[in-house]
Amino acid sequence: MKKNSRRLALKWLGTALAGLFVGLPLRSAAHSPAQREAASAPRKQPSRKVRPAKGSVMRHG
């Protein structure tokens, strides 16, 4: 009984680890640079505040 439960525990642990090894790269692959960029950019339509000030003159765009 003792031996079996240890084996079972090991099996579960092995499965969990294997899952992590497979899952983690997939998970991080899901977050592409584009998505991260989107996350870093303003979340919504830039608010009234985040705008060029009135009267300023652009050098070049």
């Binding site: 642990l13 969990a16 680890l17 992590l20 983690l24 790269p25 998970r27 991080s28 692959a29 977050h31 592409s32 640079p33 998505q35 991260r36 960029e37 989107a38 996350a39 870093s40 950019a41 303003p42 979340r43 919504k44 339509q45 830039p46 009234r48 505040k49 985040v50 705008r51 060029p52 000030a53 009135k54 009267g55 300023s56 003159v57 652009m58 050098r59 070049h60 765009g61």
Partner: protein, 1000 residues
Amino acid sequence: MAEHRNAVPGQWKSLRELKTGKRAETQALHGSAPLQASDLADGLSRRRFMTLLGASAALAAGGCARSVDRGKVVPYTNRPEEVTPGKANYYASAWSEGAQVYSVLVKTREGRPIHLEGNDEHPAYGGKTSLRTHAEILNLYDPDRLQGARAGERELPQEQAVDALRQSLNGRVLLLTGADLSPAREALFERLRSQVPGLERRQWEALDNSSEVLGSAELFGERHQWRFELNKAEVVLSLDADFLGEYANGTSQARQWSKGRLVADRKAQMSRCYVAESTMTVTGSKADQRLRLPASGQAELAYALAAGLRGRGVPLPAGVDGGLLAEFRLDAVARKYHLDMAVLEALLQDLAHAGKNAAVLAGQQTGSTCHAAVVLLNTMLGSVGHCLHLEPVGSRQTLDAEGRRATIREMASGQWDTVILFGVNPVFDTPAAWGFADAFAKVGRRVSLCLRADESAEACTLVIPVSHWLEAWGEYMTPDGMRCLQQPVIEALHGTLQGEDLLLRATGLEGNYLDHIRDFWANQVQPAGSPVPFDRFWHTVLHDGIYRSPALAARGNRLNGDAVAARMRELDKLTDKGHTGAEVLVLPSPALYDGRCANVGWLQECPDPVHKMTWGNALLLSPAEAEKLHAETGAIVRLSLGSKSWDLPVLVAPGQADHVAVVHAGGGRTTGSVCNGVGFNAFELADRPETATMELVEKAREDVVLQTQEHHNLEGRDHVRLFSIEDYAKHKEKHYHVDPYLKKGYDFYPEREFPGNRWGMVLDLAACTGCTACVLACQSENNIPVVGPERVAKGREMHWIRLDRYYEGSADEPMVLQQPMLCQQCDNAPCENVCPVAATSQSEDGLNTMTYNRCVGTRYCANNCPYKVRRFNYFTYTDKRQPLDLAANPEVTIRDRGVMEKCTFCIQRVNSARAQAKAEGREIRDGEVRTACQNACPTDAIVFGDRNDTSSQVARAWENERSYRVLEELGAKPAIHYLADMRNPAVAQASESGDHDEHH
């Protein structure tokens, strides 16, 4: 074959290395390097192993279960006309820090400023700017900025705050502002006086970073300052003036100075730089001949040099007493301060020989006596009007120490009904001995117009937030006639008004500050009778950011001989005191200046150019002084000045003069979420008449002074190479070192082909001053996070470019060598071979690229990188507080926890240039891609471009005879070449360093 001085064993990074001969291992053991198997404890039982395995699996599973806020991408339909999503707009603007004005270009994306660069149209900057200018982006988005006004504990809406300000403008009102270089602002205060007759404005600066000649009002009849043209100087003598760093305008002076240091070939001439200074500065680290001399001894040296020049037949200016001067003798100064007489003789000869092509500069800490001597020296040499110009200070009439003390006395005696602090923080930055806080508390109405609730705001009855300069209008004029316009590039983030507008509203005057500036420019600046309509003129200047008007005319700069004689007599009194303790010197911090921008994490974490200290300040002592106290770096020393004493951490500073204790300002702030409690307030020690006595109270600890110099160690291999110009000119064969095995063509890897572009970089060590502007520019461009002091202590700082500083010679009088170290983008990159998931690989154009989403964080690459330039995200370092997210550059991915990162050669800039070239159906032009570090470098030490284009600047620099690759023998084939450092010593180096001359 070659006669360059090799890195090993002559060069050392820290005193520990010098003493033990061993490279630092501390960081390898408990720093960024992973534990080795041998570091694990023995006897790990099966049960213990299972427990650990289970716990780590559970932790990993728990730790990974976080949801990334992916936000929502919304179409940008309601956008301003000039904004194109995904495309940056640039605006010219300007800002001032102390007595310096910086003309800048602001890069904005979707309406938010994300990066600052120097204005390429400005002749003094040519596209370069200072390290603190780069950090202003983070200052704008600082979450600690005040968002609303308050009177005591009560919050006030803006209208009520203006009303409260109106009520304060009654009776005798003192308005304290920083140094002011704006004639329009001066005119504004005149207008305000018409409404508030009791208003007086004074300019309050804690530390003078100007080139003003102290005591010049007595010497010339009005206050004067120096303007430099160091590119014309063949000999530069600096008397405690860190002109490549914090003295006056380090950025433009470094640009000028480096022009005389270009060594294109063996026939090139170099200027010679003599530095006499009390502590090692950026300028001292580039000196050809350096002398250790306390600030109090500089005047004696200057007068002795003047006497020496007179002895060589150089005439004295009319009215100056030659008899008094004859009392100063160079050999006496040499004996008194233990200076090398051979160097002084060579200096005298060089000065006499160079004549008008010599420039002598004196730092602000040397005092008015030394400044008078320097005016005398430059006048004798004939360099005034050639290498340096004497100009009136214009509208910048900052209070001197006596003026500030008088103001405090007036406050204490109740002369002022209201004191308004406009952008100044005197409670923090006034010498504590003067008692500003107590006097200020006696004023009835105390108002602060400020960006953040600083120490002074806490002592005020009314606090009103103002806009950051990137949200505000302004204008500046420097005495040479160059005018800069400051325009807002973003609407005020917190709905604030700029301070000038608050004052205009409170006094009930019509219009806003923009109208005022426009009126001023229409009437005073645009040439009278110009056929150009004002609007067109205004728009052109706003577009360019600069306008040149006639320089301020001096009423006369005839030297008053009696005033010089009086200074010489003063000197006798000064030097008679004798030295019993150490003189305390409070200097501006290379990163934080006087502490006004201390809440910017980038600056706190920016390593000091010489000592590589981050997060805090320390008491700098010379090695001999420290030894007397049995103190090492990290020890605590009790410093006593009169009846007061402080326990301060020590940093042993090689090259510092004895009997001098140096502290950098900027630490010890008590407000601000970033800077609160970091370091100690150096102003508490400032301006006390006594000399200091010191005793050791606590032995050295590792975590007291955070220095990054021993992190990311290259294990004592060959790095920096150095030639004297004489050696360089003499020898015929190529100097750069090629490993004999590589010469024979033995290579494990096949030669790679780069059919299109092949990006490469050349770094000129002779031009690099180690100013660290590149580090900040890279941080701003590439979204590099701040990790905080605890992690810096573990060697986990994230900067993609670091400046390795090596000493050579003895600890007392070392020579300093700087070497920027960044990813070398190797063709045969050792990091690529060891990555198990191929997250790092070679691109077709010769870049070593990172695929962040493939990286699983094994850190094998960092271990295998011989240059130690890879950085690992142990945690999610990016500060998510609003509105900090607006500071991020959207062209660069924000790296998350568990990902390796490193320099990309600004691949986003390469890609954008490529897209532009493709759209226009052409090749990328040379110079079209400029990396952030290259753009920031004031001395143009960094050249970047396409190596396949043989006519490109980088390809030409690649073939320079000083060019070499670091650790070439490893065969990694880096895409970065270094050009060996060059010095132009007048006297052969002491035998200690000369011993290594014949290595190789």
